[in-house]
């Protein structure tokens, strides 16, 4: 299983089931990583003192230009997962020539439908409890159409299922990582 993926100068590694480290040269940005060394950190859960941006906010973190996107569950369709509007966030990270889109834990929200215009290089897609099901993941892949999809997962079977559903639309690459919380 590949452990790190380099696309357009960005190296993406999984840290824990839902954490990810994006490196450009010697600089790194970690999203949802609890432990380990990183130059910059962001979290997709808007709570307490965890560093994060609000949807719509932008920031430059060293080599990384970050834009926060909406990530929430849709109550109107009975989606009762983790995040209500204002509780979660996704990120679009640009560095060098790559654009990484981390959707955050979300449902199939309207904002995803327009994400295709972003021309994301890598889509980081959290799967599992509180995040997308593989079937929803397929819808996200079809909306975003990234060059590469990297599932973030606790149970590899969900990543495999997403692969079988979505490989027709985008290149899915399942990265190794610790699948349990550190």
């Amino acid at each position: 299983m590949p452990s790190a993926l380099k696309v357009r100068g960005c190296v993406v590694e999984r840290v824990g089931p839902f954490g990810v480290k994006i490196s450009v040269g010697s600089e790194s940005l970690c999203i949802d990583v609890l432990q380990g060394a990183c130059n910059h950190r962001l979290y997709t859960r808007l709570s307490g003192n965890a560093p994060s941006l609000r949807p719509g906010e932008e920031a430059s973190l060293g080599a990384f230009r970050v834009r926060a996107t909406e990530a929430y569950s849709r109550e109107d369709v009975g989606d009762e997962r983790l995040y209500r509007r204002g509780e979660g966030v996704g990120y679009i990270v640009e560095a060098g020539g790559c654009k990484v889109y981390h959707t955050g834990a979300a449902g199939l929200i309207a904002e995803l439908a327009s994400a295709r215009e972003e021309r994301a290089t890598i889509l980081l897609l959290p799967l599992g409890k509180g995040a997308f099901t593989p079937e929803e993941g397929l819808e996200v892949v079809r909306s975003v159409r990234p060059s590469v999809v990297v599932p973030l997962y606790e149970d590899v079977r969900e990543a495999e299922k997403l692969k079988l559903l979505a490989y027709y639309y985008s290149q899915v690459i399942i990265l190794k990582g610790e699948d349990k919380w550190g």
């Binding site: 993926l5 380099k6 590469v148 079988l164 290149q171 899915v172 399942i174």
Partner: protein, 583 residues
């Protein structure tokens, strides 16, 4: 094992219907291939499809546009073109747009060092992004490319460079195999030192002596790419003959027409991800794994490392985690997998075809691949649950001179039933026949495998004289299924590679490792044939000399110490029979 009909989800046809289509294609081979040529974009139309050993005479096309350029105005622009996994688990993906940018830079750098139309660029590199960029850069600059297998020893590399005289060489400084560093600079230096001219050298991984690969891709990108006449050289190889390796040069027009058509027929499409284990130094690696796959807009997955490191499941893991849809490999590789790995524990449901090449694929091995690798975890509509096989395993016949696969089954076209143990039926447009010494067709018994009509990738070195003798021994059954048995001459087939016994002998004799040497192949359960060398000298010294001079693939499994008298041809034959008798 009987014939296995393709699932009805393909364009399945009966053998009879396929025979009709095939007959039509070879009876009108010029118009058949002319119609295939329309799949390419031509800058200037050809005046004759075939005339005087040349195809698409008078035509001109931009090879780069037909490989990559045409995808840039489509959604394939952002699709990964090449994904490489290295032995340490790190992976890299480049999109078609990335390849466009990098190859444009390489083209400019190559032009700046004087590379242009009519020149050759040698690429001595493993399957990698860098090799792909170098090849595409050379084509954009107007040069033809010879790829040289990284497993060759310095002497063999030197002789290839001497014959082809490339103006630039792109090489790797090292590789990692089973966690250990393999130095490629030393053999490269030895080869280059013995040339009577100095090519421009670019080295991936750095070297104090030559330019780094970074210099090839640091400048601005060219916007345009070179238009080749249909008859210009495009790619070159060396093919093993009894006396030595010889040049094989494929011309732009015909080669590209054939590479596109055949790669599509055997199973690749834009939506596919192909995992190819055949090195870029060999015809399949270039024609199907790279050029054909790029022309179709597929994603190519390369693995750069040992197949058994850290365990034999490495290739299956790659197919699982990269959602591979087509597995292109050799019979030798399948034989090694069969003895060492089970598919259980790997999710291979995305796989839709296994294409095998290199040497005969015996029926039990075919069955193993079909049931073990091809069953998947969820059965298809028509298949029975369990490990009963559900995707086609296609065996093919290929030869450097022929340019592409010429027999097999057409997954993406008229798909006739599979006959396990055979190399399938002659592909459309290729008139293969098995004949006796007088040229009379033979069915059901071994004979000479010949080609009766010219094929588009007819090499520049072959003057068409009514038929072409492949040098292989084969059996064709009444329906046309081909079983290739091996070489009729002394050429050694090992692990899918065609090794010249004359080249091994010359390396030993010219280097002084042996006063006289004779090399030949003997049957081998895993690699089809193993190399045996008879010479006067110390066996370990001979073994080491072959490994260093020609390469590890030619390393003899047995060295017979013997004084050699008489003609080599008869010596080879006599010794081969002796080894076969176990004496």
């Amino acid at each position: 094992m009987g014939v296995v009909p393709p699932s009805m989800k393909y364009n399945a046809v009966s053998v009879k219907e396929y025979q009709r289509l095939h007959k039509e294609s070879v009876e009108n081979f010029e118009s058949f291939w002319a119609s295939q040529a329309l799949q390419l974009k031509w800058e200037r139309a050809w005046s004759a499809a075939f005339s005087g050993s040349r195809w698409f005479v008078g035509g001109a096309l931009d090879p780069y546009y037909n490989l990559v350029g045409k995808h840039l105005s489509t959604t394939l622009r952002d699709k990964p073109a090449v994904v490489v996994e290295w032995e340490d688990g790190s992976a890299e993906a480049v999109t078609y747009e990335d390849l466009h940018e990098a190859s444009g830079r390489a083209a400019r750098a190559l032009r700046e060092v004087g590379v242009g139309a009519g020149d050759w660029v040698a690429v001595i590199a493993p399957q990698s992004v860098e090799a792909t960029v170098a090849i595409l850069g050379a084509l954009r600059a107007g040069a033809a490319v010879e790829t040289i297998f990284t497993g060759f020893g310095w002497w063999e590399v030197m002789r290839r460079l001497k014959r082809r005289r490339p103006k630039a060489v792109v090489a790797f400084s090292e590789l990692t195999r089973r966690g250990k560093r393999v130095d490629l600079l030393l053999p490269l230096s030895k080869a280059l030192e013995r040339l009577d001219y100095e090519p421009e050298v670019f080295v991936v991984g750095g070297s104090s002596r030559w330019r780094g690969f970074e210099e090839l891709i640091k400048g601005p990108s060219v916007k345009e790419s070179w238009i080749f006449s249909s008859e210009s050289p495009l790619v070159g190889f060396h093919a093993g003959y009894e006396d030595d390796f010889r040049l094989v040069t494929h011309r732009a027009g015909g080669y590209l027409v054939q590479a596109l058509a055949v790669t599509r027929w055997v199973g690749l499409r834009a939506r596919d991800t192909v995992f190819c284990t055949v090195s870029l130094g060999w015809i399949t690696g270039v024609s199907h794994c790279l050029i054909g796959a790029l022309m179709l807009g597929s994603t190519i997955v390369f693995y750069n490392g040992a197949p058994d490191y850290p365990h034999w499941g490495r290739w299956l893991e790659i197919m699982d985690y990269y959602a591979v849809t087509v597995f292109l490999t050799t019979s030798t590789a399948l034989r090694l997998l069969k003895g060492n790995v089970r598919a259980a524990g790997y999710e291979l449901d995305a796989l839709k075809a296994i294409v095998v090449t290199g040497e005969p694929l015996e029926a039990p091995l075919w069955q193993w691949a079909y049931e073990e690798l091809g069953s998947g975890s969820s059965p298809m509509v028509e298949s029975v649950p369990g490990r009963t096989g559900r995707i086609p395993v296609i065996n093919t016949y290929v030869q450097t001179e022929l340019g592409t696969f010429v027999s097999g089954n057409l997954v993406n076209s008229a798909f006739a039933p599979l006959l396990p143990g055979s190399a399938g039926l002659p592909l459309l447009g290729f008139y293969l026949d098995v004949v006796d010494g007088e040229g009379r067709p033979l069915r059901g018994e071994p004979g000479r495998l010949i080609v009766r009509t010219p094929w588009p990738a007819l090499p520049a070195e072959v003057e068409w004289k009514g038929y072409y003798d492949t040098g292989d021994l084969a059996v064709m059954d009444r329906e046309g299924y081909l079983s290739v048995l091996g070489r009729r001459d002394g050429v050694i087939k090992t692990s899918g590679y065609r090794i010249s016994p004359g080249a091994i002998e010359a390396a030993l004799e010219e280097s002084g490792a042996a006063k006289r040497a004779v090399a030949f192949g003997v049957p081998d359960a895993t690699r089809f044939e193993a190399v045996v060398v008879a010479a006067e000298g110390e066996p370990e010294h001979i073994r080491r000399a072959v490994r260093e001079l020609v390469g590890p693939i030619a390393e003899p499994s047995l060295v017979i110490v013997e004084e050699l008298r008489g003609e080599k041809r008869w010596l080879r034959q006599g010794l081969r029979e002796r080894v076969a008798r176990g004496r």
